[in-house]
Amino acid sequence: MVVSTEPRRKQRAEHSFESSRDTIFRRFKNAPYSDSTGVSVSELEHLADVYLADHSGDPKILQKANIFRLVLERGRIYVDPLDWFAEKVDHGDVVRRLTLGVRGTDTPGSGMWLDEAATGALSIGTEWFDRAEKHGVSHQPRSGLDLGHIAPGWDKLLEKGLSGLLSDAVAARSALGDEITAEQAAFFKALDVVYNAAISFANRLSDFARNNAESDPENARQLDAIATALSNVPANPPHSFHEALQFMWLMHELIEMEGENVRSMGQFDRTLRPFYEADIESGAITRDHAKELIKFFWHKWYCGTGGASNGKNFVFGGQYADGSEITNDLTYLALDAYEELGTPDPKLSVRYLPGSEDRLYRRVADLIRNGHNSFVLMNDPPAVEALVKQGKTPEDARIYLPIGCYEPAVEGKEVACTMNVTVSFAKPFELALNDGVDPQTGVRLGVETGDAREFTSYDQLLNAYIAQLDHVLNKSRTHIAEAEGEWPNINPSPFISGSIDDCITDGTDISAGGARYNSVGFVGAGLANAADSLYAIKQTVFDGNRFSMTEMVEATRAGFEDREAMRLYLRNRVAKWGNNDGPVDQIARDVADHFCSVVHSFENGRGGKCQAALFTLTAAMGFGEKTGATPDGRKAGESLAPGVGASYGLDKGGVTGLVNSVTKLDFTETPNGSVLDVSLHPTAVAGEEGLHAFVSLIKTFFARDGYALQFNVLDADTLRDAQEHPENYASLQVRVTGWSVYFTTMTRKEQDIYIARIAHGG
């Protein structure tokens, strides 16, 4: 029960979401902290520096835990009286500056300890990655260490509370007895520090809310609810739906403060279902009030980003560990709340099974066609099988969470580092045509594969390409493994570790490989450009004799200068991936198979697997800018093909051709995820017939073992108008790469690329 049973003070009815959302947004960005609640950020920084100087000999994990404690004990705090949830501490990213760096500054993604490693133990690898980044070979977090794609074990957190986890730690520690290592002892000590700090912090917030409720009877109802909730969670399991939401939100904020990016907020309709059902059953909340709470809850994510980007995933649908369906009343209630919210944050994923009910398809398709396009639709059979193939048990595989966009990780058991490296499929092609030297800069980036002008067979070309690609993959693997070895010195994370099996049992932090499954994600980007380029040369040089290898090499080097007719021939007259054309589709499949099998032959630096993915996110544009003209007729600097689909404007066979091609890939070999971006014209999905067609499209893609889908339902005229009159389109959402954003927040260049793509119906 949320509301305290004390005698009611004189108070107004609670504030509705609609009447409070804007104020909450403003105060989230700029909280009116009072100095009476704690010390300023500069003071925190100073105290942290002093602490670090005094304890420089301590294990990093203890240094970090104590800075974490310091911030939560001493920082200024605030509870918004209009809100149902509290979390605010003026932390100034004092903990993150050690590891990932301070958010919203020039150098987020790189903190003190990461810098230390990048210029010290990891300098060789960092140099490789920096050069690879600069030339469009690959894209990765600093030094090749992905600290940012992780989710805690939500079920376990809610089931045990932090006190329960502390008891588990005591038991695990004593089970180790005299065998305990110094690292293990430090881990247990750190866990004790951070969990107790979090519990005291919740009590600070609770007291703050309680005191304000007394002096602010107008707002007492929500403040009371927060005070009651935080006197129970996160120490103990929640007593109500509201407390469960408060628990999760607070954990999100504290984990991020600790120095990770939480990329999945869990399986909403499974994890929260018992709390929701119990409250409905007992009459503690109504369905409407639960919906209102969900809106307040989700608004927090929107407050964090303003709709400019997101990557915090909530997943719906799908299955329990035993394979039974999850979808229930809470699923649909949350979708209603999402519709009413109308913001691109947070991001929702929906998992489908062969037997998923029609209502789930229709509801989601209807939301998407009405502009709520922040959805990823995932197909469980290949997604689960792909994880099983990597050695996960079927029970574990079935409770995967999409991390960030569409990269699965087993909830509470896997640290998947899903974006560890994104490798361009196009750059190795350019290198194969130029003997390993980047024609843009003259820098040698690849291996020597010979003068391509003298190639006399397609196989020779293919082998050169494979050699260049493999070189990048091998280099990445080596340097990532080195970085993983340094991870405990860069970002030990006891706060999140406690929720992940088997960190507590083994007394090992996730940074030291404490999770049950430790994975490294290799993402391949621009499949279409590789397949189309290989096929173009096969067709026009070796099979067709239209051009010579010399012409091909020189024309692409020169960006097709004075060879526009050649470029147009290559672009418009040679078959392309994404049109259900047998021979070129086979090449795409071969390239994908090769990439996945090489990645899957790698072990990573924590004794786990490397897992392949096929998608692009923003890398399509980033790589494109740094890649010269390619034999598929792509001009120098143009974007690579998005996702796993066709190049922009080249899926002339329409959406069905695209689906028929893409589903020829084997998605049980992409355990780290994949996605097909589909753009549909609004008229194609309008009305009941349109909805039926839309749902049929999704089901056909899934029946053909496709992996995941995301949609834009837009026409180019609307977008052009929005470019000229942004003031009229403040709420227009478009889906770019993995994220749904407000169109008006995109750069002009991004907007142009986007419009070109929509105009082609691609």
């Binding site: 329409g654 008229t683 039926h692």
Partner: protein, 322 residues
């Protein structure tokens, strides 16, 4: 689906026609409002009517035509080299020019024009080629209850090809629709019945005089054929493009309601809103743009027309986006 209709003429029709190629000007996939489910619509060239508001002007002429879009041209002059008639030439200002009047549609220039400035409207395709394209999307038809729609132009102007294609599709288990304007001999239209799961039947207006002015012929035959078709038991969806001031008078709508209300097997009436956005196609074909300079009908007007038709017991589909 009406098995008796399939039995009646199917066996009697000669198979020899299977080799007749058709003149196809487009194949559109994921077509959604051309019959039930997800469909592939095959557009055949040639039409006996000439509606002023035609959205596919390339559908009217029975021969291939050249689309010419100079904004795409890169001035490579390859077309000039291959053109046997001099229709593609270089002007005094050293610019490439196209004289449509002397072009004999040899198609040679299209083959060397990689920019797409020159494109052919109308491609000869065999039944097998079309079926291969259609069957690529079989999974979508199965999931959605969709299939193939043959449209035009008037597909039954190419009667042999259309019948062969319908038969092949039926044999492959793919649902078939034919979108016809009805301006045909009944004996021709009748041949399609055994292989057509559903007809889409265009009604352009009920005022015969007005019909003659805007469409080129009176509407008697269209109305007669509709009556006969409805008596065969074939399901029919009526399609009406509402052009304000041309075919939307109360009298015309009431006459339509009266006609359709008295017929069997009319499974629906689909109202389509006129729009004048096909102008660039007329230009690319070198044709005068005949599209009436009127606004698209207002939503309220379409709703009102829909209500009048519904009052006659008809199942009306309004445009999904208005």
């Amino acid at each position: 689906m009406a098995g008796s209709r399939t039995a009646d003429a199917g066996a009697a029709t000669s198979r020899a026609g299977a080799s007749t190629p058709g003149l196809v000007f487009d194949i559109k996939r994921f077509a959604v409002h051309d019959g039930p489910g997800v469909r592939t619509t095959v557009f055949l060239k040639g039409c006996p009517l000439s509606c002023a508001w035609c959205h596919n002007p390339e559908s009217i002429d029975r021969k291939p035509q050249l689309f010419y879009r100079p904004d795409r041209c890169i001035e490579c002059l390859e077309c000039v080299k291959v053109c046997p008639t001099g229709a593609q030439s270089v002007s005094d200002e050293n610019r490439r020019v196209y004289f449509r009047e002397i072009c004999d549609i040899s198609e040679l220039c299209v083959d060397v024009c990689y920019s797409g400035a020159l494109e052919l409207a109308g491609k000869r395709m065999s039944v097998d080629e079309v079926m291969e394209a259609v069957l690529q999307d079989a999974d979508f038809y199965n999931e959605s209850g969709g299939g193939m729609t043959i449209s035009g132009g008037e597909p039954l102007l190419q009667a042999e090809f259309t019948i062969d294609l319908l038969r092949a599709s039926t044999e492959a288990g793919v649902h078939t629709s034919v979108d016809t304007c009805g301006q045909l001999q009944w004996s021709t239209l009748k041949r399609a019945v055994p292989y057509t799961s559903m007809f889409l039947y265009d009604l352009k207006g009920m005022d015969s005089e007005n019909h003659k002015t805007n469409i080129g012929v009176p509407n008697d035959r269209i109305v007669d054929n509709l009556r006969l078709l409805s008596e065969t038991g074939a399901p029919i969806e009526i399609r009406m493009v509402i052009v304000p001031g041309v075919n939307d008078s109360d009298q015309q709508i009431d006459d339509t309601a009266e006609l359709l209300g008295g017929l069997q097997n009319i499974v629906g009436v689909r109202l389509l809103a006129y729009h004048s956005m096909a102008g660039s196609k007329y230009v690319a074909l070198g044709l005068d743009n005949t599209m009436p300079k009127v606004e698209a009908p207002a939503k309220e007007q379409l709703v009102a027309i829909g209500e009048r038709l519904e009052a006659a017991g008809l199942n009306v589909h309004l445009p999904a986006k208005m």
